[in-house]
Amino acid sequence: MVRAILYLRLTSLKNFLLSRLRRLRQPKYLTGAIVGLAYFYFFFFRHVQHLGERPGAASVSPFLPPDAGASIAAVGSIALFLVFLLMWGAPSTKPGLNFSEAEIAFLFPAPLTRRGLVHYKVLSAQFTALLQSLLYALLFNSRRLFSGDAGFVIVAWWALLAIVTLHYQGSSLTLARLVERGARPGRRRAAIFALLAGVLVATGYSFWHGLQKLPASADLGDYFSRWIPGVVNEGPLRWLFWPFRLLVQPFLVHDAAAFALALAPVAGLLVLHYFWVVRMNTAFEDASIAHAQRQADRVAELRRTGVLRLGEARRHARRAPFDLARVRGPELAFLWKNLLSTARPWFTLRNWGAVALLLIATAAGFHALLGPAYWKAGGVLAAGGALAGAMALLYGPLLTRLDLRHDLANADILKTYPLPGWRILLGELLAPIVVLTGIAWLGLLAWFLGLQGHQPPALSPKWFGPEMRIVFGLCAAVVTPVVIAMELLIPNAVPLLFPSWFQTLRTPGGGIDLMGQRLIFGFGQVLVVVLALLPAAAAAALLVFVTQWLIGPALSVVFATIAVALVLLAELWCGLWWLGRRFEKLDLSSEPRP
């Protein structure tokens, strides 16, 4: 069995590396690899100067203070506690060991006992944990990895990941047995929630209690950094966090004797976990098959749509966002379809209206409650609104996939529609434009309501007085959908202009070459968006500068907004027309698999 696993893992790893090296013969992968390596060098290897030297015992990271070790250990312990809690609380009604479809096809009918299968999974997981430990050591402990501490760091990570994996397997099998015996997932989750609530109440009380004793002149940050280790190491919760402190301890020591001492209890935990997992004789096969099927569906969906679905596939039809029969234009049919495909069901006109009313009611409530001190709450509302609007404007188009890219797997069907390419492209862009504009408008509303009746001293009354805020708000509202449309047009051009690169970018899995390609495209996208917005911004700045002396700031801003909108609309129209033509000529032959 061990020989078979070793053969499978080592041969697969060798073939994986060879296939990755072979594909570097294609310029796009080679370019990606060069950029990816440069990125890694810049972030992880640049600081490595003294290979083999031990960093000082007190140092944790060059970016952190020397005494940060205690806080990091405490935060690590808390994070591990939450991870372990999640293992017991999150699993579905059918927990089981996770096998791939190939493993199920080859190993389940093979002459192996159930315990043999569990052994296979346990040993395979250790192989994966070893590879992950190298990666995590590089990401989180790169300085120590290239020093005399390299062995400590890798072993510490491996032991931690091995225990986490074994605990996940053990908890899955135990939960599967509980389900077998009729235990209800709801009760289990309630118990986990009660434990978490208890811990939160205890820590909250400890924080408040310590805060009461604090002198008025004390530094709150300093108190917080001392309080966190206190929660984990002292008081009633220290017993709860004790095993997690043990797991973190090997990361904090720097000499061989101390490391051996820190590792001994971890090794004990590892052995206990091993026996726990292999001694469980629970039927996991049904759940494993269902899980493998779900995973395969997710990967297929990722390949098809470029979107990784985290939860279960939707099984129930959703209420339509609007009555399709009452609108004209085929573009709106695309909008209707894509709004129905959104991951969240709350992108409807009614919900937008409800949020807007809630914001107005909240602002009015605070006004009535606080009177002249309204700005204290209003400032938070304005800042939150500005942040939400800015995020929707800047990051929204980078994050969304609810456009042509999502539908590209159906390009053969789209091309049969009796529509010119630009109308299809416009239709595909409408849903993210509507959703992101909605968020940005709500952000604007919150900003406007938050600043009502208050003039922040940092803002010029001439340009940001109450009347000007209305002008700015309305002008921003007008120009927002056009800017978002322009931002969305650029990434949607990628599959039409570079179809082969685009297919590679949505390939599941990683690789330094793919990471490099994504970096190139991310940077290129931002650059092109900036270049596309530049003419409009320049025209607006010039208009405001020239006309404000003659017609005042309000009208100059209105004229500038009209100019921005016109320039962007012209660019958009040209882009849509050109990319529409590209879509009509798009060759749908797929990229060969790596």
Binding site: A102, I104, A105, F108, P109, L112, D286, R593
Partner: protein, 252 residues
């Protein structure tokens, strides 16, 4: 554990039941297959064919019932029972980073086939994938992947074979070869169970048919026996007509 009373039967299923929560996929199913026999498992979608195959191949545990493969109780001595069988799923599921040849080497290690290289060559030739021996699955067509999965299953010379929709994804030539391969293995003494919606395949290949509906056995026997049971005395009634009459023409 050996079943002394059923020594001739390579597959002996008795009272097989499988529940998924409150849903019963297979209910109290019993049948037997002797060496040289090919049993066709037919039924509408959701009849429990794949669940039955998975249970008797030892992939999922049954909720109740007894299964013996080549005289070995699948629950009591799973390793001995599984050593005698091979299961071929409807979709070939392969390891992404093992070549065709390495798949066979891996299977040989799992089943303890000592001289696998001597056996692998003729198998790859038989399924016409010898020229792809050093390719990864990503470079194979759907049909070639199917052939590789079958070659892997046959490497340890199983005496009991389970096929779930064996013709899916094969071209006409591949279909003909697959049918010949099934018939040849049965003639060599293997006991075979195959599930398929292709009733003409069953007519050509199977000696026996078992009709399932909603997890329950409707009929079981040789094709002439089943025909006689549902033809109501009419001559020249084909298996498709028999199937429709037996199942009532709908899933429910």
């Amino acid at each position: 554990m050996c079943f002394a009373d059923h020594r001739r039967e390579m597959i002996d299923v008795s009272g097989l039941t499988k529940h998924y929560g409150a849903f019963t996929a297979v209910r109290d199913l019993s049948f037997a297959v002797q060496p040289g026999q090919v049993l066709g498992l037919v039924g509408p979608n959701g009849a429990g064919k794949t669940t039955t195959l998975r249970c008797i191949a030892g992939i999922i545990p049954p909720s109740a019932g007894r299964i013996a493969i080549a005289g070995h109780d699948l629950a009591a001595t799973p390793v001995a029972a599984k050593r005698a069988l091979a299961f071929f799923p409807d979709e070939p599921r392969l390891f992404d980073y093992l070549t065709v040849r390495q798949h066979l080497a891996f299977v040989a290690k799992i089943y303890g086939v000592a001289d696998h290289e001597r056996l692998a060559g003729p198998l790859l030739e038989e399924f016409e994938i010898a020229d792809k021996a050093d390719e990864l699955p990503g470079a194979l067509s759907r049909g070639m992947k199917q052939k590789l999965a079958i070659a892997c299953g046959l490497l340890h010379s199983p005496s009991v074979l389970f096929f779930d929709e064996p013709l899916t994804g094969l071209d006409p030539l591949g279909i003909r070869r697959m049918k010949r391969s099934i018939v040849k293995r049965a003639a060599d003494g293997a006991a075979i169970v195959l599930s398929s919606h292709l009733l003409h395949l069953l007519e050509e290949v199977c000696s026996h048919v078992l009709i399932l509906k909603r997890g329950e056995k409707l009929a079981d026997g040789t094709i002439p026996e089943i025909t006689a049971q549902f033809s109501q005395g009419e001559p020249d009634v084909n298996l498709e007509e028999i199937f429709i009459r037996a199942t009532g023409g709908s899933e429910n």
